[in-house]
Symmetry: C2
Subunit: 150 residues, 2 copies
């Protein structure tokens, strides 16, 4: 955890992105690290956890982090928590919580609050546009013989 | 929306990833498209919406999708909804909902349900490890003169 915090601290003077760091460990071995690169890379998804997860998956040539654990300097935001669920490490650890991120000027707690609202009631609203074609991709997926579930 | 659905449908026989498509529009102009590339790229974060958001931001050389809208063949999962909040388009549209994704074998609704639990009570639990060093990255960020808020 101290290494994740140090990554976060060291990222500030670089101007690459926010004060966040993360790393992925598998069976006691460090697999990959990540820092926030949002502003340097013009990528709003380049949070430390996402950068670390992507790097770890590349290193393992896998889209799953089986038997891995993630350490983050701050509680993962909903985007990063979602990424954790798709990558499926066994657990994760964090130092600061979402309230500390909010106090530092970040939207983490706000986005957690928004998650529970119906899509149309959110600050960035989402609207369902029904379509007769909507189900076709899932129908094709159900019938596909070459698919790799994830 | 028909184009987003067609992207999803066309992605199935390619074996690149799941049956999902998305695109970003700015003031009536198509900026970028995305399809699910999870299995092809070994990247669990390569959902259609994230791929489209990243591509749109690269095209605009910006980490914000100001005045943009996102169209997705299916309701964004929590990871992608989080990415939408960080990219800040004005709104988004979708065809299928999370229940349809669940029926097709995907974890979207499950992950939405998990979001509302305390970290330690989730299926992938998160544990806070307090540290005397934890606040230092945010303290450095508060004092940093060169920072770019996002």
């Amino acid at each position: 955890m101290q290494q994740a915090i140090q990554l976060a601290l060291d990222n500030v003077p670089t101007g690459r992105g926010g004060p966040f760091g993360a790393l992925v460990v598998c069976k006691g071995q460090l697999i990959a690290t990540g820092v926030n690169l949002v502003t340097e890379t013009s990528d709003p998804t380049a949070h430390a956890e996402i950068v670390a997860i992507r790097a770890a998956c590349q290193k393992l040539s896998a889209f799953q982090l089986t038997d891995c654990e993630l350490y983050a300097s701050c509680e993962p935001c909903p985007m990063c928590l979602g990424a954790i669920y798709w990558a499926r490490p066994t657990k994760f650890y964090y130092a600061c919580n979402r309230q500390a991120a909010t106090a530092a000027g970040f939207d983490d707690a706000f986005i957690y609050d928004e998650m529970s609202f119906a899509p149309t009631n959110r600050r960035i609203p989402g609207y369902c546009i029904p379509s007769e074609l909507a189900a076709r991709p899932f129908e094709a997926w159900a019938k596909a013989g070459n698919k790799i579930p994830y």
